[in-house]
Structures are given as C-alpha cells and as structure tokens.
Symmetry: C2
Subunit: 341 residues, 2 copies
C-alpha cells in the first residue's frame, strides 16, 4: 500500500480503497444521471472509411471539463456527508481528474485543492483554476505528489479523492459503459484507454453488473506500458521511466484497478508515439473531433489492426478532448502522417 | 441529345436555374440516403451552459469533405446521364463546393475541374486536389471566376454544377433539414448560415415539403451582408467589398435562392467578425467540435441574443468543419474572448 492510499484510509470514514459493489454502481448511475452529460454515441463515416467497418464512439470529450473524469469525481463528491463537504476535497492529478474534481466540488459548493506537477500540461493547470480549484505545485515524481498531498491533507483536513483507486470513482466511471451498453445492445467489443485503470475497471464492472458478454480491450502507450508488463508479470510493475504524449495515461495502474483489469480484460494492446500523434491529427483534421492524445490511443489501436473483429458491434471510449493547441504535442501531431493517406 | 444542345446546356444549364420541385426534393432525399452521411444531431451540454437553454446542432462537419456541400454536389452528379458523366463536371468555388464536387465526381467515376481564386484558403485548394479534382486558378473577382469557367466549359464540354443556383443542388441541401425535421418533431426554430443561399433555400423548401411550421433564421457576416441589404431593398444588391473570415459565406445570394429566402425567412441577422472568431474558438476549445468560421456564425448569432426564443425546440445547422489550423483566421480566433468567460 502506498502513502496515498494510507492517507486516504486515514482521512475517509469508510474504506473506499476497493472496487465498487453492485449497489454502488447502480447508485452512481442514478446519482450521475442529472449531474453529468449523457454523452452521444457517434459512428463517424470518416472512421469507417479508414477502419473498414463501423466503430461507435462514446464521446466523453463532450462532458463538462472535456473528459470522462467528471463521472468519478461527481460521484465521489456527491457521496460525501455535509461535514466532509465542509472540509473540502483534495487530490493529486496531472490533469483531467484535477479539473473534474474542481468542477464537481464547485457544483457542490466545496473547496478543492489539486496537487499538480509543475510539468503538467499548461492548459490542464489552467483548467483546474478555471473550474475554481486551487493548484498546489509539486515535483515530477509520484513521491513528490504524494508527499505534497499528505501535507495538504494534514493542514486542511480535506477529503482525499483518489483519481482511480476509489470505489466511488470507479463506480462513477462505470456509468459511461452502462450508457453505451444501453445505447448499443449489439455491442461485442469495447476499446478503452488505460492509465490508472479507473475507466477500464469501470467498463469491466459495468458489463458484469449488466451480465453482458463483452470483449474489453485495453490500450496503453508503449512509453507507459506498466499495465502490459504487470499483466505479463502477474503483479504490478512500476516503470523506471514513463514517456508518452498521452499525458492522461502516464499514471501507474492502481492497486484496486489492476486485479479488476487482470480478471476482466480480453486483451491489452500498446500503441507507439507516432501512431498516437497520427490518430490525434486524424481525429481533429479529418473526423472534426477535438480529442486529446490519451483518447487518440484507442483510434491508433484500431488503425494498427490490433483489435480482433469479434461478434457484435465494436465501440471505443473517447476519454477526453483537452488538446492543448499551444503545446508541443499538437505541433508534433500536425507533422504526423495520417492513416488513410 | 446532340452535341450542340448538350454544349448549350453545359454552358447555360437553364433547365436547372430554378428552385427544385417537390418531386425533386423527394428524389434527392432518397438518392442521397446511401451516398452521404446521415449526420448526427447533437445537443451539447456546453452550449446550454452558455446559451441558457438547449440547442440542437445538425452536424454537417461530419460529412465526407467536412461540409453539407456533398449533399447538393452528389445529388447533381447522380442526376447526370452517362453521356454527361463522360464529359465531366466543372464549377467555380472558393472552397467547400469545389471539394464536394470533386468528391462526388470521383465517387461517380467522373472528371471534375474547379475554378478557384488564388486567394482561396490554402486548405480548401488542397482539399479539391485531395479528392481528385483539378484546380484551375483565377483572379479574385466574380467576373474572373466566371470568365475562367466559361473557358473551361468551352474547352472540355464539362457540365457546369453551380454552387447554389441549381435545382439539383438546392434539392440536395434540403435533405439536411429533412433529416433534422425527422429527428426533431418538436423543432420550432432553425438557424442557418447564408452565403449563396443554397442551404437556407433548401431548409425553407424542406419545411414546406413536409408542411412543417418552422421559423427559419438566416445568419450572415456583417462584412458580407448582401442578403440583409437585398431583403431591405427588395432586390438583389451586390456589395462593392466583401470582408469576412467566414470564407464560405462570401458569395452573393443567388438569383434562384434569393426569392426563396425573401418569401421564407422569418428573419436574417448579422454577426460581426469578433463574434465569429470568438464562436469558432469556443466551438473548438470548449465544445470540442472542429467547425469553420462560416459555421460558427450560427453560434455567434445565438450568443449575441439575436434569435427569438419561439415555440418548440431550437436547432442550428453546423455547415462545415474545414478550419485551417495553419491559417491566420485560427490564429486570430485563438486571441478572441470566448462567450461565457
């Protein structure tokens, strides 16, 4: 157990460092219905032209804050007692979870502090502030983040909301897949990006909750393939070095999420940086959708042919749209050779 | 048909210089069903947050070529005889109609020549070539375009497909509104950008064809407000100077389309350059949709409060998504102050 989780256990009255139970998944679905967007499921003609068959996209870039993370954050914040809300919430995040928690806290009238590495994407730091959160600087390592967060929690008594190793957060993320399964009864294969594993664990648990047979394929950047290595090793493996433009997928797969992924993933594929950049460019310039590199990983996986064409329809979750148009990643993406010429 | 008549009809396609009849609108709808995208109708949560109530968007940026123009172009090309297809098609266009005609011609195995001003947006010239069309350079004025096109038609015998003053083209554009009316039985107000007037005339005729009561509001850039002035004058007025970043709306309202607009528009509002740039930026950065400035005019009109909130739902047609990320317009847009802060 790392310090963060220990801290969470110390501060939270209940024990949330576990997967959500069925009743919690159901409660999250109900709680979120009026609080976050019921995002559209699109079947882009442009994607069919390149991929060769239809793929449905669950478009979480259209959420408030531009990412699926509002689901988990809003579910967690709305699960708090009045007394807890008064103390406020805190987390560490390289980006979307921080903005999502700031948004969810503001909607609930609570204070939110987000520990962020100084190296985080500028637009994501700005987003936390835009949604009313307080950014607390820290160094680049996981240890830096956790030490700084522990200080914040000790000083303010805020409730820690972990980006993924929290039953409330995973239950919230599950609602994206529940909506998708409701919209597409014929769904057979679902492609999901994997960072900390919250969205993917939520997908697996949603399919189980609905007793639906679904091949869930995780996608990781080759430069942040700790989940791939962890699955191969049979236990969580930390990388010495993480390097990917998919900034939302740099986190290590969680202590809670990993066993869920291990038991529930049909496959996990990796995509390289060139493919992620090309898919980002393709999404924006051809498909006319603003998506961030972390979300483009699922398109890259489709384009590279790594997804088996099984029974039923194929879908992917577009996790977010917070692409920094001032950043180096977008400049690099614009030089990429796009799929389909 | 002998060559003389064919030649005459190619250069002066008088048969088609009229609004489409009801049967032609119905035929276009059927013909296009399998040839162009049935684009989604989205209700962005982000738009409601700024506008204050729901607005539905018919998302024509998701068409092949990234614009509604494929509807009219494909309907016209697919209306041609075998002999006409062999001669190929030609047009003049500052952008999306040229690319759409190139696309539709290639799909039908026909040659396509597009007369374009050298000043046209670079990405739109590239798009014509990308879809297999031949770009023929001309000067910036309407006279330059027409003289060059007459030369092309005389030299090759190609069939001229006008961007808007053509019954086949207008019937094709009408299909966008037909799909929208089918999807939204409660629609009461529809906001449509006005350039040459083909999309807007199609909307008016679609509502009439379906006997639906619908308040259709046209939107023009203040720097290309010839339709506004023409409605005020009661006859078509040409501007001495057109200046707007909405490059798709620089054309003068048509001889065929103007009377339709005059008889069928509930209102026509104008939006200034700052509002168009701000709406473009907002669409990309907040709503995560890539739209071009011509399409952003309808959002600008909503944001400035110029659209009466009548009975039933409000919708707007997003005409296209061909935003040039290398261009000066996008650079200017990124400095704009967005609606909603």
């Amino acid at each position: 157990m790392d310090d963060t989780i220990a801290e969470c256990r110390a501060v939270c009255p209940g024990d949330w460092v576990r997967p959500p139970a069925a009743a919690e998944i159901a409660a999250a679905r109900t709680r979120l219905a009026a609080r976050v967007a019921h995002t559209p499921v699109l079947r882009p003609a442009a994607l069919k032209r390149v991929y060769g068959e239809d793929v449905w996209l669950k478009c979480e870039q259209f959420q408030p804050v531009g990412a699926f993370k509002v689901r988990g954050a809003a579910n967690a914040v709305r699960s708090l007692s009045e007394a807890e809300l008064k103390r406020g919430v805190a987390t560490h995040s390289s980006g979307n979870h921080g903005a999502a928690l700031a948004w969810a806290a503001r909607e609930a009238g609570a204070r939110c502090q987000v520990v962020m590495p100084r190296s985080a994407v500028a637009s994501k730091r700005a987003a936390v502030k835009y949604f009313g959160g307080e950014v607390i600087d820290c160094g680049p390592s996981q240890e830096d983040r956790e030490a700084r967060l522990a200080e914040v929690l000790a000083a303010t008594g805020a409730v820690m909301i972990h980006p993924y190793d929290d039953a409330r957060v995973i239950a919230g993320q599950a609602s994206a897949t529940i909506e998708l399964l409701e919209a597409l009864p014929e769904l057979g294969t679902l492609v999901v990006p994997v960072g900390g594993g919250g969205l993917c664990a939520g997908a697996i648990l949603a399919a189980r909750w609905l007793s639906r047979s679904l091949a869930i394929i995780g996608v990781e950047p080759a430069g942040a393939d700790d989940t791939r290595r962890s699955l191969d090793a049979g236990c969580r493996v930390a990388l010495d070095r993480v390097e990917t433009c998919a900034d939302g997928l740099r986190a290590q797969v969680g202590e809670v999420t990993f066993p869920v992924l291990e038991s529930g993933l049909a496959d996990l594929v990796t995509v390289d940086e060139a493919a992620i950049l090309a898919a980002t460019r393709w999404a924006v310039e051809v498909a006319k959708m603003v998506i961030e590199p972390s979300a483009a990983t699922v398109l890259a996986a489709l384009f590279q042919g790594g997804i088996p064409r099984g029974k039923g329809a194929t879908a992917a979750i577009i996790s977010g749209g917070n692409l920094d148009f001032d950043g180096a990643v977008w400049r690099r993406a614009r030089l990429a050779t796009m799929p389909g010429g």
